[in-house]
Amino acid sequence: MSDPEVRVDGDVCMGIGMCRAVAPGAFRLENGKSVFIPGSGTSDDDVIEAAENCPVEAILIGTRNAG
């Protein structure tokens, strides 16, 4: 099983908030920048949708294998 690893690139993030609009449980705003909240129970589809909606492509999704 693989587990998507999600990170917001703080340099690129412009505090637009599309991620929060699409997946409100999975992203929060901290001092004008978006931060990913792991373990929120948000579906992978919604997290991917959030990443696809970022106008500056600041959300990076990789996968790592567990075990």
């Binding site: 340099d11 690129v12 412009m14 505090g15 637009i16 908030g17 599309m18 609009a21 699409v22 001092n31 004008g32 696809e52 909606n53 970022c54 106008p55 500056v56 492509e57």
Partner: protein
């Protein structure tokens, strides 16, 4: 401190940076009695107000409505109704809802798909420009290009595009200018009514026979989930017609002018096309078109010792923020390889330019196509007339020599 300068007057607007540099240095939160609001010029402050302030509203229409006489409300009914539904002039939750519905069409991944057709169009326009005695980057290249792209996205048939182009220009003065004159307002009002009728009819056509365009997508969102009203669909189309042309047209022209004035950078870019991505970001920082945008304060707060009151207008001067030496070294130097991270040409925060990714693609392709064939393209000596609108600082025309002798 207070000033009374009309910064749109040609003597300032033709080269606004000395004025705004001085303001940024001596009076960074400056009450301007001509504009009737606070002029903000420091990068740190503009960035804060865009992204982190809890007291900023984009809804300048509500304020105008509250201050209008009954006669004005009647005479400018279409303006209030249509602009009142523009996502750019709304706050959460309406802004969020409308942005969600339009955002996907403009993401970097989506607009990348338009690259091939944009390049083909640019090449055709360049072919035609090469036959002209006095080629104008605006009328002969950038404007037809951006017009065709946004029209296609919206679903406007090719034979109707020139009418739509004229409309877009006519309503520009209404947008966040704050000081538009009475005659231009009246013209803009009647143009809005025409555009309202046009898009209502187009919407009806797409409802009956959906096409692969944005107006059909919005119609579906209305039908399927009542996610937005018919007024909002029409208002959104009108906004995109204006926003999809004026600004990117100006960016392309401003870029060619800036590269002409900085030939070492132009030569570098022409000979190293892989520098284009960073070069476009620097051109956005250096000569981005949206020079300033308006906000209204929703509460009292202090900024650098000045007391901002609820209801006060603020002018977030992006063009000055992007030349702040505290943020960018040697800010008045065009350097296509500098680090421009965080520049505010597309603003920041919730209202970050919806069209930003599309503008980047259009500008990159337009500049690349032109420099590929004409690496020495040079603006002819001319008196540049700058459009006197604060959200669109761009030349009215830009005549060039494609092959200077």
């Amino acid at each position: 401190m207070t000033s009374s300068t009309n910064f749109l007057a040609p003597e300032v607007w033709s080269d606004p940076h000395p004025y705004f540099d001085a303001l940024r240095e001596t009076d960074p939160v400056s009450w301007n009695t001509w504009w009737r609001g606070w002029v903000i010029t420091r990068f740190e402050d503009v960035d804060f107000l865009l992204k982190r302030s809890e007291h900023m509203s984009a809804n300048t229409v509500a304020t105008a409505r509250a201050q209008a006489t009954p006669e004005q409300l009647t005479r400018r009914e279409a303006t209030f109704r249509i602009l009142g539904s523009w996502l750019v002039l709304n706050d959460a939750p309406d802004h969020t809802r409308l942005r969600r519905l339009t955002n996907k069409a403009f993401t970097p991944a989506m607009v990348a798909k338009l690259s091939v057709s944009i390049e083909a169009r640019a090449l055709k326009l360049l072919d035609a420009m090469e036959t002209k005695e006095s080629p104008d980057i605006i009328a002969d290249y950038a404007h037809p290009l951006t017009l065709s792209v946004i029209s296609q996205m919206l679903g406007i048939p090719e034979e109707e595009q020139s009418q739509v182009a004229a409309w877009g220009t006519a309503i520009t003065p209404l947008v966040l200018d704050g000081r538009e004159n009475k005659e231009r307002r009246e013209v803009a009002e009647s143009v809005l009514i025409e555009m309202d009728e046009y898009f209502a009819a187009l919407l009806e056509t797409r409802r009956r026979e959906p096409a692969d365009d944005l107006i059909s997508q919005l119609a579906l969102a209305e039908d399927q989930g009542s996610l937005l009203s018919e007024t909002e669909i029409i208002a959104t189309c009108i906004l995109l017609i204006f926003a999809g042309q004026e600004t990117t047209t100006g960016l392309i022209a401003n870029a060619i002018l800036a590269l002409g004035q900085n030939p070492a950078e132009r030569i570098k870019l022409a000979s190293q096309p892989d520098l284009m991505r960073g070069a476009v970001e620097e051109l956005l920082r250096f000569c981005g078109v949206a020079f300033a945008i308006s906000r209204v304060a929703t509460g009292d707060f202090e900024l650098r010792g000045e007391q901002i009151k609820a209801g006060d207008k603020l002018l977030l001067t992006i063009g000055a923020a992007n030349r702040d030496p505290g943020q960018f070294d040697d800010p008045h130097r065009l350097d296509i390889t500098r680090d421009t991270t965080g520049h505010l040409a597309f603003a920041g925060g919730a209202h970050y330019c919806l069209g930003g990714p599309l503008a980047r693609v259009e500008a990159s392709i337009a500049i690349k196509v032109l420099l590929d064939r004409h690496p020495n393209v040079q603006p002819r000596p001319q008196d540049i007339e700058w459009r006197g609108v604060i959200v669109a600082r761009e030349p009215v025309a830009l005549i060039v020599d494609l092959e200077p002798s």
